[in-house]
Symmetry: D2
Subunit: 347 residues, 4 copies
């Protein structure tokens, strides 16, 4: 940490900063330039809020933290890319993994129809919400355990792995009985107790990016999970909130390469929540693959106009079928694989 | 709800929209202009996501929802301002209520010293965190139940009411044994199960605004609490996340009059979290009172440079003492009361 | 336009709205629902700020504009995609056009070296600033006319077309003597008099998106140019300002498909200004092509560490050479062409 | 400037950084910690984009600029508050100065009626646009020179000073013949050539904050004016663009105390453009004064429902009359003066 004193900071102010550093068992190195004094703080561990403290210290102009706040999620402490195996699906490897399925599990029929179709088209993991966070208390909140059972049936039939959201610590055991991957939603991405509890549950965890979450905060959310001894965390960019009203959120495709520079964790993109409109999902999905995403999460519904949630952003099955070969072509163009089942010959 | 069809929408597209409306048991009124057809949807209840559904319907250009999504929190359903009595303190009335205290309860000594001082200066409610949400898992997380006990002691001694944050449903019973008001933090403002559970606990609830929460979403979060039969909700603006780096958050002072136009709920402001810097807290607090806030929440610490959290934004006790008469003067200037204890005569 | 009256709006308030509409020579259609009255405004032309006016009218809850504010730039008035020919380069067609070159023209040697290299790699248009807008008055502002002459020499030698920024109306004649395409920078994207004057100059105009410009505002900026009789406008997404600090701007890749839905104008992307960091430019460029961009604008410098502006985001020539075949592969994968010169055989 | 090398940066990378620093005639001080090397850059002048350059240098993790980019606008170079006298009105002193008037000059009658009324209520400076920047080319653009003449007549009659916007360098001479203060609008706040030219015109300049302008960028815009030898610059906060749709812009009241900490320049607030709605203007104006603003700019129109621009946010004359004594009361409460004419006795 470097503490930049104000021009004309008094010797007493400088001494006070140094005294505080020493009281913490750390070392202080002074460097006096022509205009001002700069104090380097040496030693570990740095209290995590020491920068905040010194920011308001008399005579201090600015504090610069040099060490990163995240550890387990960063390359420094884990120089290999994280690869996660979920029922034979390899996440974080060369292959771009496609998660697809309805926003909410609404019925066995709807879920199985979707699972069969997206599996046939090349998706490896089935998504579907049994517990739905809704902005308004008057909206459909999911089928609960019945939804989990439907997902499990779809897994049994298709061989896909499944992912579903858990919203509160009390549900972790139940959801964990069924799901292969826990999903933490954007609005719970800084629900720290949920992150810790799910970190103890022994299964991979996907953390959606919060609506106004900085990338460093996202890694710190993942750090909560990893600090429980769970190395299997997947990040998923799903759009951030900005001033632009033409999309539900602004798809921050830059998050893919930036996260890959900061962290070894696999990073997925969710073009459906970013776009909020079916007509845009394809372009954003292609952009995500081109930018290097390790996977995609796409909402698909057999009859999206009558979906109980997020119908406007769900692809129809034929739209998804048409998109997959295009995703595969872009994946190949950037040196990744995205195996797509061959269409069965007609007649 | 009004559905605006595209220029040149086909009769089949229009018929399909009308058919869907009728299938929901609602009425459809068509109005054909020179350029396009507009469909009015009549009847109740409107499915809450019907606008989303129609947004992606073939031939539809735009959907305009006319009824508000929030009900219990709005003036239409509750034409009197909500007034809440907490241990004799009236929230939502003519008086501007000041909540003050440390970010975290760190020790009995620190908390009692602060409580005595802020009470003497005119604060009516003591704040202090016993369970702290932290961006990083490696930071101080609060004293837990010991912190609650310290707050209760401070209440016993000073007669102040107390407010403290609850982070997860499992803690509600314990926190509720001590606190007078539950605080829901900004990062939990869309943790819907927490909102519902705390809504059942029979005590007033203050909901901080989320970092990128639109005002309508905030009222819907309050709606989750009120839908449990709890009418005593307080809102607290604490800054939103924008591009401007010079403050921790951007204090959206407009939220005060806008919320007062939408809702009968009391609205407070927290200049400490908005500013993030002690030197700015006074100006923002004064601005909040001038804009009509029903109360303030201000962080005060006897020795902020050594606070375990948020020291940079905590006022010292002398700073708080100096601020209170200025707040009282502005409150008076806008026709509100903010009674400040007279300084005891010296000697 | 639809005017939604408040619940309980008085007959006098409704009459006043209707009277104002009629005074403007327009028609008013009333529709009375169970809860409120809705007034449809019929006729043309609608005064452009009529929605603002009615928003504050007594008894009005909300105003919904149905007709779009932009005309010439929208599909309704121009149902064919705009295709622009610049010195034999076709913009807006099947081919993805690459503009490349240094941020600033610094010297003949630097510019020619870059032009030769990017042309050999497949770029068709050379960029380079002779007049540079700088946040601080103490930074390098460009070589002025000498810079324009250098660009013209590079055009003569390589056969590339050239594009350069014009910052103020007084410079249009001079810049127009040299450039093939006028560039309007992000900070001038709502400098309306500049847009009008450049619209009269008889050459294509590229408008960068402003830092916090909504897409509709961008089309209205283009409308200023087109309203002067100049149909040849190109839009260029270059990142918007958000809360995320890890990139210089947030690359809004969704702008590509959204604009293509709204407008017939070609849309380019500038991954260099969006990223602000060389290491991210490739991923964003690939994402832009995958999302369907009609072209790219990429900063390239023979020695970026010593560039007089924007060195941090400029690719080296070998980096650009390596990127072009990857861009071509992604273009092909999404059904577009991006012809890349074959590397000359060695030896 | 401090250059933080990456963990494990090679000696060659460090040498290359040092060599570049020395090539610029600057000094380099190395400090080797346990984990990494930090290079301090000593000497002047630092090239303004040196931080950008080093950000992308091999082996560099981060660059920290210590000296501020702005000079003339900062306290370091000008330790007295700037006080500007305009026709006997003192801006930047103890008195809170009120600028009021219509958005656009529409007619002599409208302007004079407004001028008389706001002058009688205590406003000292008359605003009114003769040249209007409009988002759409199809809106009213102002009366041009006729508008300037009307403002001058209003000055002659009332004795108020006048302020009006100039949009392009070619208009400076003409506008300067009439106005007392030049106004630079938000959309032109980074139109650097306009700032320079208006800086040469010998009259005070008010710069509105751009829609997504960081405070440092704002001071650098003011620096463009001051660098021409014009010390009389006034800043005016008018709301920034955020995700919140309930106000036209988000009024960043924190800008008042933050700017006052950075700069000696007077800072005004414009609650009208921030709010965009008449009903909110009063609360925001009061907040601005409470936060310490040196003045206010408020839109007032004798018949706002029929204004040619910004009617929705203009106060009526009776509303302005009612607001002024409230502003005066808050000004007094924070130790400022805002003299209001006594209402003439009735009858």
């Amino acid at each position: 940490m470097i503490i930049v004193m104000k021009r004309g900071a008094s010797p007493e102010q400088i001494d006070s900063v140094v005294a505080r550093i020493k009281a913490l068992g750390l070392g202080a190195h002074l460097s006096s330039g022509e205009e001002r004094v700069i104090v380097g703080v040496v030693g570990t561990p740095l209290p995590p809020t020491l920068d905040d403290e010194f920011e308001s210290h008399d005579g201090v102009e600015r504090v610069v933290r040099i060490t990163k706040k995240y550890k387990l999620t960063g390359w420094d402490f884990h120089p290999q890319k994280t690869i996660i195996d979920v029922r034979g699906v390899t996440i974080g490897g060369d292959e771009v993994v496609v998660i697809a399925g309805p926003c909410s599990v609404e019925s066995e029929e709807q879920t199985l129809a979707t699972a069969r179709a997206v599996s046939a088209a090349g998706a490896k993991i089935l998504r579907g919400g049994a517990y739905k966070p809704r902005t308004s208390p008057y909206e459909f909140r999911g089928l609960g355990e019945r939804g989990l059972q439907i997902l499990a049936s779809a897994r049994d039939e298709t061989g896909m792995a499944i992912i579903t959201e858990v919203m509160t610590p009390a549900d972790i055991d139940l959801v964990g009985k069924y799901t292969d991957i826990f999903q933490i939603g954007a609005r719970n991405s800084q629900n720290y107790l949920l992150l810790e509890e799910v970190g103890k549950a022994g299964k991979p965890v996907m953390i959606k990016r919060g609506l106004s979450m900085m990338l460093e905060e996202w890694l710190l959310a993942a750090e909560y999970v990893m600090a429980q001894g769970n190395p299997d965390v997947i990040l998923c960019e799903r759009g951030i909130r900005t001033f632009e009203p033409s999309t539900r959120n602004t798809f921050d495709v830059s998050a893919v390469p930036v996260i890959q520079g900061m962290s070894h964790l696999p990073i997925f993109v969710d073009p459906s929540h970013a776009a909020g409109k079916r007509a845009l999902v394809g372009a954003l999905a292609l952009a995500g693959v081109a930018a290097g995403a390790d996977g995609l999460m796409i909402e698909v519904h057999p009859n999206p106009d009558q979906a109980l949630s997020d119908g406007a952003q769900s692809l129809t099955i034929p739209q998804f079928d048409a998109l997959m070969p295009r995703l595969a072509a872009v994946a190949n163009a950037v040196g990744r694989a995205l195996p797509v089942r061959e269409a069965a010959p007609v007649g």
